[in-house]
Amino acid sequence: MEYFIAALLILAALFFLLSGVAIVRFKDSYSRLHAPTPASTLGMGALLLAAMLWQGSEDTLSIKAFLVMAVLFVTSPISAYMLAKTALHLRLPLAGGRQLPEIYEQARNRRNDSSKAQEKSDQSV
């Protein structure tokens, strides 16, 4: 059990270090958004599993560590989605200055479509 906890901790440390290097080295905002995602899923998952087993080796299996893991696993995809939508909304270019006009328009039009649909439903009410 001790070696398993040690392996989980080393895995988490490597993922954290990898994402820290990636957020420095990557060239544009979209790759910087995707780079640190393993830290918040795999790294935090391994670290919290190690914390649960660590507590479990002493008195009882810790439910609080599982709660932190559940909150992180639910919220991190939502914040990543919001950040990607913000980056597309601000029309940020790819690395090398390449633009993505169709995808910008798609990201903006989807919001307009949903607001139009809401207006229609408001009028029908």
Binding site: A6, A13, S29, M44, T75, T86
Partner: protein, 89 residues
């Protein structure tokens, strides 16, 4: 053995935090800064959990839970402000 591994993990997280903080200061666009802030919240949760493991106490889980919730809320509020120019419409 495990105690020293916990301290090594804390050191690795510290290195990652330094890199992310550099990106928070330098970041060419505002989205890079928001990403760096979001990741700093995650790293601080990891650091606090490692501190709890090193001190053999389960006292820090509430703090980690609070930081996770507040980090999500602040990232979402920042994105809403950048998307719509307003947070609560």
């Amino acid at each position: 053995m495990l105690d020293s591994i916990v301290y090594v993990t804390m050191g690795f997280i510290g290195v990652a935090m330094v890199g992310t903080f550099w990106r928070l200061i330098k970041g060419p666009t505002i989205v890079d800064r928001v990403i760096a802030m979001d990741k700093l919240f995650v790293y601080s949760i990891g650091l606090i959990l490692c501190l709890g493991m090193a001190e053999h106490t389960s006292l820090y889980y509430e703090a980690a839970l609070l930081i996770a919730t507040l980090g999500f809320i602040s990232t979402t509020a920042m994105c809403k402000y950048l998307l719509r120019g307003d947070i609560i419409e």
